[in-house]
Structure formats: C-alpha cells, structure tokens
Symmetry: C2
Subunit: 367 residues, 2 copies
C-alpha cells in the first residue's frame, strides 16, 4: 500500500498518433492533426491537451508518438522531459502505445495510476474535464479501469456508446455494463432516449498494474513484448530491445484488448463528463466547431488573407496567399503550399478516399 | 491610285490592351488576358490572334500595347518587328491606339488598308475568319469602313448589335444602318428574330486615310494629337513628342469616335462572319468554351495536378500544386502563386467587384 493520495499517483499519458486522413491536406503523415491549431486557439491540439492535463498531474505527462514527430513534439511542448517521451519506430495502434507507457511508468512507480487522453480531441471546458478526471482517478484507486463518458447531446452515429450500470460509491461514477460499437441512427436514438448510454471518448484511467494484468490475460504475447521493452527502457539496452521486439507487437485497439474484456469482467467504471467534447474528425466538424451553430458564417483558420463574398463554411489557410471566395455555401477550402482541397461540408468524409487514391497513385510526397 | 490589289495594301493592327478584371487572379495588370492560354491551345490568345492574321497580311502586323507588356509581347511573338510595335505610355482607350497605328502606317504607306482585331478574342475557324476579312478588305477598298458582324446564335445581352441595311455589290457585305448598344433580353430576341442584326465583335477594316478623315471631323483634337505623333514617330523626336502629346489624348472608344458617326454618314459596311467567335470575358465563358456544351465536365487549364470527384466547372492552375475537388458543381477554381479564387459559374461576373475591393483596400500587388 502507498501513503500517497490517488491524484498524487496520477500520470497522464498522451498517445499522439494517427494521421487524420479526413483532414488532408492540412493533416499529413509528417504533420498530423494533433500538431495543428484546429480551433483557432493559437495553440495546437497537442498543446491544448498538455495544458488541460498539467494542473491534474503537476506536469507528470508522458507523450507516446512516432519517431518522425519527435522534433515537432519537443518544439511544441518545451516543458516535456525526455524521460517522458516514448518514440515509436512505427505505428502499432493504441494498445501497444498505452501499454508500453503503463509498463515503463509501472517499473518506475509501482502504484502509478495512468490516464490516457488522445492528443487530438477538443474540450472546451477544462475545469469540468479536470473534475471528471479527478473523480476517475479516485475510482481507479479502488481497483477499476475508469473511462469518461460524454453525455450525448444528439443521437450521433459517429461514436461508440457506453452502456452504464448501477451507481458506484462515488460522486457520479457508474459501473460499465458494456461498450457498444457505433450504432445506426435508430439504435442511436434508442440509446440516447434510454438515458443509460454515454458517448465513448476513448479516455481510460486505471492503475497501470491493473491495465497490464488485463492485457496479460487477453493478449499474452503483446503483454510479454511491452514488459520486455519496459524492463530495458531505462537502461542501456533500450534501442536494441526496441529494434527486436517492436516490429513483432500485435496491432490492436485498446477498446478490444482491454476495455471490452475488462467490462465483461465487471472491472470498468465510467464517470459522466459534462464538458463539451469534439472529436474533430473532418473539416465539417471543424467548421461546426468554429461557427458554434451560427449559420452562414465563414470560419477562417490560419494566417492567410481572405476576401469573402456571400460565402459560408470554412477556410483553412496554411499559406500567405490571398484567398477570394464568392457565392459558396458550406464550402471547405484548405490551402497548403503543395496541395489545395476544395469541397463542401456535405462531402467532408470523402476526403479520406481521396487520400487513398493519392496513396494508390504514388503521390506519397503529398500524404 | 495604286496598282496594288486591296489585300496587298492590308496591314493588321492588334490593340493588345485591357486587364480583364473578371479573369482575376489569372489576368493581372502585369499579365493581362491576352498573354494567357485560355483555350488550352498551347498558345496564348495573342499568339492565336497573330497566327490567324499572318496568312492574310503576309506578316504585316502591328501590335499596340502598354509599355509594361513590351517584353512579354516580344517574347510571345518572336516574328514581330520593332517597327511594328507601338508602346503606349498609359492606356488611352481604343481610338488613340488604333488611330495612332493608322496614322503611323498611313505616313509609311499612303494607300494602306488597316484592320483592327482585339488580341483577346477566341475564334475557332480560322479559314472562315480569313475569308470574311478578305471580303472586308475588298469592300474597304471601295471607300468604306467595314466591320465583321457575327451571325447571332442566341439572343445574347452581352454584345452590341449591328443593324444591317441593303446588300452591297460584294459577295455577302451589307450597308450598316446603325450600331446599337447591348440590348435587354426582350430587345435582343426582337433583333435576332428579325434576321437584320449581327453581333458587333469590334473588328474594323478601312483605309487608314478614311478612318482618320472621320476622326478629324468627330474628334479634331484627338486627330491632331495622333497626327503629330505619327509625324514624329519614325524620326528622332518620337519620345519627346510622345511625352508631350500622349498624356493629353482624349480617351474614347472607337465605337463612339468613328464607327457610330461613320455609320450615320452611310460610310460603314458589314461582312457577316460565319465563324465561331468568343469574347472570353469571364471564367464562366471559358468553362463553356472548354466544355463545348457537355454538362458535368470539369475543364482544366494549366499544368497543375488535379484530382476531381463528382465535380464540374473549370480549374485554372497556374501553380504546380495538387488541386483536389470533391462534390462541386459548376465551380470555378483559379490557383495562382499568390492568390486563389474559388467561386461558381453563376458568380463569375462578380470577380470584377472583388478586384475593385482589392484596389480600394490597397492590395495593388495582387492586381
């Protein structure tokens, strides 16, 4: 047993991965979504995430990101210490990223409670977010994997849902019955009407030991791999072991490897989040976020000059060019030095297939 | 009297002026419409005009253009001789440009018949155009100012019309009763239905002496100015006289100074042109021209890479960037190194007011 309070044991982990194909040509393999200011806050999503977590963990924040983003991440987060950076040689999905962070931190602090928060989400009320995490950390200390579920504001088909069970001995937390996949619209309405479902935002707070225990049962070889890596991490053999072990790690999302099996075993709790949360997956979502529901607005992100007449939607300017828009409704214009995208909010999801076409046609320099 | 046949006396004049504001940001003060390939022919409009006139005049072609276009024009027309270039210190509208060319040529060749043809029109059947000019030159030699009028293909409100009178002793030429301004749609239909009206394409073929005679009566001071300039043109005093006289020349369109008054005096004839003729005034017109009436096509002008999904309209690419378009109907995208325009065919005419806004807001570097 430890004498520390739960929040003193807390260590935030930011898995900063994912390209964000639907945000091409702004988001690239070399400069993914989390490295951009998509809210007009003057900071990137990664910096916003860092700032949101700092008060909770007193700066105890680990970032797991791709090798190639090492420089950009260090530049954007000057307070990030090198011991708190895990650089992945290649993308291996969320379980490898979070479990390695958990295993490395566990070796350093046997009682550590980790919380994993994506680098590319938008949350507009930091205080409410922090309150939810604080409660989640308390509940985690009782031996639970705790997620933060968002109160649905509409019957969205874009998110997975969390089916809540009985209330726990905590301010607002409940047991989790199960995680369910993204529903169709009919099912989504049923979920929301029932009042028993929350949106799954993919945030997990748990004792590192518990997370890894579950993983050892569900994915023994992946577990063995991250434990071998963690064993070598703070010593001279890190790179040798990394080169050996990393390529063979199973690629699986943490939802399947840990969250769902743990829920089936009654090990998962949820704290309802009452803050605004956005998974800014495409430019339509960014436009919505920027316009805050106001119709007929043209949102502008970036530093370019703009001249707009009778136009609405979003302009993302990553160049110094003048952009002139006339008579376009719900348009999406993304202007970057080597690629220009013009589409509409209605077609925002199609950007991903365009990126696939670019891949297939060998335009990797633009990805 | 001369022993030369009329066509041997012919000298073509190309007034190459006008910015083409409605074609911004492709067309600029520094690189106006006529210096661009707007048809995808691989040549600029000026080069197309030159090639169309060369067989008629055996290379006797004079170009009147702005000082600042001197270099570009010489580059585009390597066969243009320096004696055949008139550089205007500032724009003074069409009468000054054409009358000065007429006066300079008249001093060199007292029997010269000049024909003036805009540098920025698109004509798709050179043989029919040349046949019309040949007839016009023959009629001009009888002491007429001859225009070439286009057989209307629709009740357009975008052009002025020519009211034809009795047939002349020539293959197809008629007397001109009068030139009429751009009509409203009702009047345009009446004109077209009557069979008596042709579109005014602003082409004038006439003995230089006759043109200047008319001008001496309608605009005596402008006439005196161009005659003074012509007197000095081929001698050592050209620049001194130009600096003195040019700034004071009256700015007036040749339609008002010569064509309309001459028609009232019964001095104007018209040869009906049966070729396709386009005054590519805006991007919608270019899109129409490119798509040749096919619906749902995306026309592409320029050398950029394009990836289009369910899009129609026109993309003009003046950069090397990839341009990706998704789900846009009748869109106009003009991509240049320092400015990007996105609009629709419906709003193509509004580009001019946008250029006005740029002027007023001091963005002259983009004009």
């Amino acid at each position: 047993m430890t004498s520390q309070s739960p929040i003193e044991r807390f260590y935030a982990v930011i898995p900063a991965g994912g390209v964000g194909s639907r945000l091409w040509p702004l988001s690239r393999a070399s400069a993914p979504k989390f490295l951009h200011d998509l809210t007009g806050s003057g900071q990137t999503l990664l910096q916003d995430t860092w700032d949101r977590l700092t008060p909770l963990s007193a700066g105890r924040i680990m970032v797991v990101t791709g090798d190639i983003h090492s420089h950009a991440v260090s530049e954007q987060l000057p307070e990030l210490q090198s011991k708190d950076v895990i650089l992945e040689p290649s993308p291996k999905d969320s379980t490898a990223a979070i479990a390695l962070a958990a295993a490395v931190l566990l070796k350093r602090e046997p009682d550590v409670i980790i919380g994993s928060f994506a680098a590319d989400h938008v949350i507009t009320d930091d205080a409410k977010f922090q309150a939810a995490v604080r409660e989640a950390v308390e509940v985690a200390a009782t031996g639970k994997i705790v997620t933060i579920g968002l109160q649905p504001t509409e019957a969205s088909v874009a998110f997975g849902y969390i089916h809540t069970g009985e209330r726990l001995e905590s301010e607002t937390a409940c047991q989790v019955r199960e995680f369910v996949e993204k529903p169709n619209i009919k099912l989504a309405r049923k979920y929301v009407d029932s009042g028993e479902y929350l949106w799954n935002a993919g945030m997990f707070i748990a004792p590192a030991r518990l997370l890894l225990d579950v993983l050892s049962r569900t994915q023994p070889s992946l577990y063995a791999g991250v434990m071998e890596l963690a064993q070598a991490w703070d010593g001279p053999d890190r790179n040798r072991v990394l080169a050996q072990v990393w390529p063979r790690l199973t690629q699986i999302a943490i939802d399947y490897s840990i969250a769902e099996p743990a829920a089936a075993d009654g090990l998962v709790a949820v704290v309802p989040g009452k803050f605004e949360w956005h998974d800014v997956g495409d430019f339509a979502a960014i436009a919505e976020l920027q316009s805050q529901g106001r119709k007929g607005n043209l949102a502008v992100l970036g530093h370019g000059k703009v001249l707009a007449d009778s136009s609405s939607g979003i302009l993302v300017s990553d160049t110094n060019r003048l952009v002139a828009l006339i008579g376009l409704e719900d348009v999406i214009v993304v202007d970057t030095p080597d690629a220009l995208l013009v589409t509409t909010k209605e077609h925002a999801q199609k950007v991903k297939s365009l990126v696939d076409v670019l891949k297939q046609s060998g335009h990797s320099e633009l990805l």
